[in-house]
Amino acid sequence: MDIITIQNLKKYYGSGSSQVRALDGVNLTIAQGEFTAIVGASGSGKTTLLNMMGGLDAPTEGEVFVDGVRLSGLREEQRAVFRRKKVGFIFQNYNLVPTLTVEENILFPLDLDGARPDEKYLQEITELLGLMDKMRDYPGMLSGGQQQRVAIARALLPKPSIILADEPTGNLDSRNGQNVAGLLKMTAELYHRTLVLITHNLELAQLADRVIRMQDGRIARQE
């Protein structure tokens, strides 16, 4: 069953001769539970495509359906709630709230929704990610790898339909990068989450069920 369906997706910036075609007619489907890696050179449209899947940006043309929801049909308020409930984001620069503790950061999407966390699941995730003794710390007190693990825990806790990770290992050294990638794959498989990951790292891409290569705003190849 397809959880993400993208139809003729276009995203243009600027106009006239200075127009940039970040996405130029992308068609794509991703099945539930699938681990998809998107690779490509800088400026090939990877991040734009990921942002479109997560409802972080609006397309110039085309449609994105996630778990049966047509994103262009949502108002801003609804789109925020959609992100909160259906999408788990993991960013390259972690995007943790510096004034909240690790625990509060992990619970943040649930807090926004006023929902109570599944305590067992929370404990499981934090143990799995090795964050048990860091829960009272602030992000500024953690290393880059630890911060990225907090971001992964935050993405997993609301049990979203899809997890979108934008170069999650980009700011980490190779050892930490491997660890984080392994954890990401393991947790996604363990909890049957659909994972879409952007990376420059081909080794990391090899972990995915499917690799999509982007070039000039189009899908150049799928493996």
Binding site: L56, E76, V81, P109, L112
Partner: protein, 843 residues
């Protein structure tokens, strides 16, 4: 999709943010306290102005009661008191009124003590007490001065009064048991006696009483009074309603208060700018933060809640200091705005609502400022929000030859990078300086010396106790200014010159020839084709006096004996309209000077050369001069509303009216000895009831008027200037704080702390160096153009053009100090954090 917007998380986020950024939060709290202070100040001041006017109207009305019913019988009074609209009532049972000639312009009722009425009219003895024993009386001070009654408890007082039933005038003797300060402007008051005394003097008591009522709803008093009378079938009862509740007067009071409330409008603008600028220190972080939390699923409503909680958390701790400072400012300004009250008007007119409204406005202002960053990204997707921040960082690539990175060049680059914020701070400064310099030039152009020289004929004028106000008829029998007092004054070493004036009303006769120019003047028509006497139609006493003279030639003359300075004042600086003033001839005592209208075209005095007799002695008019109204204080009789004034030497006056009183004394002193003279004067006049008007009073009045005129514009300009300076400092601070990572990069590349300091100070100096010529040129030009325009459109005689840029010069050292100190302090704060920590942080 079910939307659940948990708002508690917003509160926690904001609270944590405040805890994490204590310095910025404290700065914001201080800014909000300043805003709250300004609102509290402006609203309190406006409220006080309004209440002050209403208080004055109440004083003029003379009673706290809302409606006064005059002349009702006791049954009617009882019925009115019982009416459903009436909350409280006081009655006055007057057995008559004082009918001495000297009480001409005032109505003093002789009445049995009524504590309620006394309280409502502020006619409660401040010295002594209310009458308790048979034959005692309590009076107000103006009455005592008019009747030359000494201020001694137990003094025998003979009063001429007319009974309420219109019976013949009679004179009775009382013992003074107390007195109180008269309310200025109040023309009615009471002379209190005991009920027994009233019964003895007026057996059976008066059938009619006066009734003052206080209503539950003090609105539409006229309609309510009519309704009460209609309800009770008392259509013929006369009444008056309190001036303090008159709609037109209340509107006027509201409009006067509005000037101060408008200050609140400026505070809105300035406050939002100031708080927004402080919030703007972390504007990029805020926008990035909003983008980030949006990406995690925070809804616009929750982001709005963030702004609300931010405003709330900054406001709550700022309220009390804001209120305290606002009230302190208000208490300091209040006595300068509302003058003549014994108690500080800030306390007298204290109200809670300005504090509540001030806090509410401060909250709204803070909310507006906190919500601005949100509105900048509202409607954008999270990615667009992030792009909004990054877009500001894009710079065009420089072309041209390669340059070395010098301190100066890096300072220029830093300055150019934040030119928008720098320009904004410069604009705020420019606006405030234009306002301040323009208003300051106007203010200093009002020439105090010119004003005082023009209005104060002499350094001091002493006024007889019976002639201190315009509603007091001067009593020639009053002897408060004694020959001994004159002698002691004259002998004082500080006194350079002195002059006396005594006046007497006399019946005179003008034959056809003498009265002809006067009649021609008043029967003649002015340039509008209106007979001049028509302008006096609403002055029946004047009309009666004029008609009497026109028909019979009999008129009231006011003969004034003048000496020394008073003669100089009478001659009005030598502007003789007709005839010639010859001092030697005048000194013989056979000649007088007539005083009349200030015009060469019309005559209101008999012709020069004509003669008249006073007390059997003949005088010839040697000259006519304009009448100088400020030469004497107090009022003359109603009969003398139409009169001709004649000045004669004091010696001649002495011969005509031996033992006469002295109405006014003019004194010029050596101003270097002013303090010594005033101490002497205070001692000399103690307990005499003599009033002194000094040149300093005029100076003070002038300063007070100028203060009132320019207080608000200067205050507004001052607030804007403070905000401009804060914005300037803020511009210096924020561009250092947001570059902490960039500085870490420089440091990691080997730039020393001293180099960084030098670079930042240069940056500030360059900023000031670029801004200053612009500020100076524009504010100087605006001040000049505005000032000259104002000068051309103002017709005040006491203005001398004085171009001043004082506010600009005053602010320069502050700005110089800021560019020297602020960057150094900020850099020290930034460098407390390790270079590696700063490098890790996104810019």
């Amino acid at each position: 999709m079910l939307q659940n917007n948990n708002l508690k998380v917003c509160r926690r986020l904001v609270w944590r943010d405040i805890k994490f950024h204590k310095g910025r939060s404290l700065l914001l709290v201080a800014a909000v306290a300043l805003v709250c202070m300004l609102y509290t100040f402006s609203f309190s001041l406006g409220g006080m102005i309004r209440d002050g006017y209403l208080y004055t109207y109440r004083m003029m009305y003379g009673s706290d009661s809302h409606i006064l019913f005059y002349d009702v019988n006791r049954t009617q009074a009882a019925a009115l008191q019982e009416h459903g609209s009436v909350r409280e009532a006081v009655t006055l049972s007057a057995i008559g009124f004082l009918s001495d000639d000297m009480m001409e312009y005032r109505s003093v009722k002789l009445a049995a003590v009524s504590d309620g009425w006394a309280r409502a009219t502020e006619a409660v003895p401040m010295q002594g007490r209310m009458p308790e024993k048979e034959g005692e009386i309590a009076l107000d001070e103006l009455t005592m001065y008019s009747l030359a009654i000494p201020h001694e408890i137990g003094t025998e007082v003979s009063l001429c009064w007319t009974p309420a039933d219109g019976g013949p005038e009679r004179t009775d003797t009382f013992r003074l048991c107390g007195w109180w300060d008269s309310l200025m402007g109040q023309t009615e008051t009471c002379a209190w006696i005991t009920a027994d005394t009233a019964q003895r003097l007026y057996p059976g008591g008066p059938e009619r009483v006066a009734l003052g009522v206080t209503l539950y709803r003090p609105k539409n008093l006229e309609a309510q009074a009519q309704e009460m009378l209609t309800d009770l079938g008392l259509s013929d009862v006369s009444y008056t309603v309190s001036l303090a509740y008159n709609e037109a007067r209340r509107e006027f009071a509201d409009s006067e208060a509005m000037n101060y409330y408008r200050l609140g409008g400026i505070v809105v603008l300035c406050g939002v700018l100031m708080i927004y600028n402080i919030v703007g220190i972390s504007a990029k972080q805020n926008v990035r933060f909003y983008g980030m939390v949006k990406s995690l699923g925070m809804t616009p409503r929750q982001i709005r809640a963030l702004a609300v909680w931010q405003a709330f958390f900054y406001c709550v701790p700022a309220m009390i200091p804001g209120w305290i400072c606002g009230f302190a400012l208000y208490a300091a300004a209040a006595p300068l705005v509302v003058i003549g009250m014994e108690q500080n008007p800030a306390f007298q007119f204290f109200r809670i609502w300005p504090f509540v409204v001030g806090a509410l406005f401060a909250l709204l202002t803070t909310l507006a400022a906190c919500a601005l960053p949100f509105f900048r990204v509202a409607g954008n997707s999270p990615v667009e929000a992030m792009r909004f921040v990054e877009g500001e960082r894009r710079r065009k690539a420089r072309r041209g030859k390669r340059r070395r990175a010098t301190t100066m060049q890096m300072a220029f680059t830093g300055l150019a990078r934040y030119k928008g914020q720098s320009a904004f701070a410069a604009f705020t400064l420019l606006l405030s300086l234009c306002i301040l310099c323009g208003i300051w030039t106007q203010k200093v152009s009002f020439d105090e010396d010119k004003y005082v020289d023009g209005l104060a004929l002499n350094d001091y004028r002493l006024e007889d106790a019976s002639a201190t106000t315009g509603m007091q008829r001067y009593n020639p029998e009053s002897r408060s200014i004694t020959p001994d007092l004159i002698r002691r004054l004259t002998e004082h070493p500080a006194v350079r010159d002195i002059g006396l004036i005594s006046t007497m009303e006399v019946d005179l006769y003008a034959d056809e020839e003498m009265r002809a120019p006067i009649v021609d003047t008043f029967e003649g028509k002015d340039e509008n084709g209106v007979a001049r006497r028509e302008y006096m139609a609403d002055e029946p006493d004047w009309v009666a006096g004029y008609e009497r003279m026109r028909e019979s030639g009999e008129y009231t003359g006011i003969v004034m004996g003048v000496s020394g300075l008073m003669l100089e004042n009478a001659l009005a600086g030598g502007s003789v309209i007709e005839g010639e003033f010859v001092p030697e001839k005048f000194a013989t005592g056979a000649y007088v000077i007539a005083a009349g209208a200030d015009s060469y075209e019309i005559r209101t005095t008999p012709p020069v050369g004509s003669r008249f007799r006073v007390a059997g002695r003949e005088f010839e008019i040697m000259a006519a001069v304009p009448y100088e109204a400020t030469i004497v204080s107090g009022a003359d009789s109603r009969q003398a509303q139409f009169n001709v004034t004649y000045y004669m030497p004091m010696e001649a006056f002495d011969e005509l009216f031996p033992g006469h009183g002295i109405r006014n004394v003019a004194v010029d002193i050596d101003r270097d000895r002013q303090e010594e003279f005033e101490a002497f004067l205070e001692q000399l006049l103690e307990g005499t009831g003599i009033t002194v008007t000094s040149f300093d009073d005029y100076r003070w009045n002038f300063r007070n008027a100028i203060f009132h005129r320019y207080m608000i514009p200067l205050f507004v300009g001052g607030v804007m200037l403070v905000i401009g300076i804060l914005n300037f400092c803020n511009a210096l601070v924020s561009r250092i704080l947001v570059r902490s990572r960039a500085f870490a990069v420089y440091e990691s590349l080997g730039m020393s702390g001293a180099w960084l300091r030098r670079m930042l100070v240069w940056e500030g100096v360059l900023y000031l160096g670029i801004m200053l010529p612009f500020l100076t040129a524009v504010s100087a030009a605006v001040t000049w153009v505005w000032g000259r325009w104002w000068l051309a459109h103002t017709n005040r005689w006491c203005v001398t053009w004085r171009y001043s840029l004082l506010p600009l010069w005053a602010v320069l050292p502050v700005l110089l100090a800021a560019v020297a100190v602020v960057p150094v302090c900020c850099l020290r704060v930034v460098r407390r954090e390790q270079v590696t920590d700063r490098l890790r942080r996104p810019e």
